[in-house]
Symmetry: C2
Subunit: 222 residues, 2 copies
DNA sequence: TAGATTGTTAATCGATTAACAATC
DNA sequence: TAGATTGTTAATCGATTAACAATC
């Protein structure tokens, strides 16, 4: 594989969108697609699609475009989701449980190996075929299992402490759903902070902007 | 308020992060902060913080910086979350319910006025003090209540149909949590597509990139 | 007052778009 | 073969950073 120095975050963030677009095309029975075809569906330019993909290699053919299945496989490979990742869920409250049940982990090669919680009612149960253990069993579990990724969904008050603990015990990636910004700076640990509200706020801003634009238009039309 | 022509999406996306930063500062009892102080906490440059804020107005003082409370209020105003927004939840499955219970709607002036679902078990119940109605009651409800925003959490198969229906019945903003890309292009309706998996994939990419960087370093050290 | 820090203008940097030779 | 479309280089555009006068 090419050395991936300087792939921009924007490019990385578009890869999952390309993948979803290709999955839709495959479901529609399409076997080939051009960069212009992808671009149109996503509201981008064909230039950008080709430019993005070319950061990682050559996946198309002149005069033909891209084979849908092949490009899908290639993007999965670039993202790393062609390989299996072992995942634990720490904090199996309502958010943790909902994700375990509804997110397509299996279909993307994520293996939910265990959940951990402090609630005695949950310990020993299963959520979506995944066993839930007590928080005390976490260290022992990590010592004997190579876990790739942790879904962090504990209460806000516990977020920083638990994240630090996970990092110290060798978890290399934390998907942080606690709504607390984790700036761990604990190389070699990567963290992705998910903030539901940010996206709601952004929508609200757009709503207000649209409505005031419409109000201006209406005034001018009078 | 200034006319907001050409505020970049990047700037808009940073506003919620500034807000969260200020909230943390306020909780720590801080009453003032400089652009450099905000920038450091968020890993940005002070220039960028000032540049972003100056798109909307002047909120600081030379030699002093920003008053934490005042700036918080101003950003809420810019985002539009100082005003009350009436919200309905369409699709009160496990994702819809979890959000209703756990997301801080009230604290950000979102008023959850109703939920709608087709499941007879849910209809007539309350989730987090919000009544759940039958899907058949939706149209009548929209006719008599001015709803600002809809949280869309129906099954994937229903997403496009329901979104179109909402748009046609006057919902101006849809927060789409169905994992289906909605490219409605139904002006004047704004849509925000939330894709949980995108962020997980992006984390996985970073994980792989970090691990292969470490492997290279290790080889070189031998 | 002197030091600090803003808001803004100018300079730089990076990302997107356009263009086109290569070629399926 | 002729038309289509890639991968890539060059041109443009926009976003970030640097610099600094204004001033609290």
């Amino acid at each position: 594989m090419k050395v991936m120095l300087g792939v921009s975050q924007n490019t990385i963030n578009r890869l999952p969108k390309y993948l979803r677009c290709l999955q839709e095309l495959a479901e529609d029975g399409r076997t080939r697609v051009s960069s212009a075809g992808i671009a149109e569906r996503l509201g981008l330019t064909s230039s950008q699609v080709r430019q993005d993909l070319s950061r990682f290699g050559s996946y198309g053919s002149q005069g033909y475009g891209y084979d849908v299945e092949t490009l899908m496989r290639s993007i999965r490979e670039i993202l790393g989701i062609d390989r299996t990742h072992k995942v634990i869920v720490v904090g199996v409250g309502s958010i943790g449980r909902t994700l375990m049940k509804h997110l397509d982990f299996e279909g993307n090669n994520y293996e939910l190996v265990a959940g951990f919680d402090t609630n005695p009612m949950l310990i020993g149960t299963q959520v979506h075929d995944t066993p839930i253990y007590s928080a005390e069993e976490l260290n022992a579990f990590l010592a004997e299992t190579q876990v790739d990724l942790c879904v962090l969904a504990v209460p806000q008050a516990d977020a920083k402490r638990v994240a630090l603990h996970l990092a110290k015990n060798g978890i290399p990636a934390i998907w942080n759903l606690t709504n607390v910004d984790l700036e761990l700076d604990l190389f070699p640990v990567v963290v992705e902070n998910v903030h539901f509200l940010d996206s709601l706020f952004s929508l609200t801003f757009q709503l207000e902007a649209m409505q005031s634009a419409m109000a201006r238009t209406a005034r001018r039309a009078q």
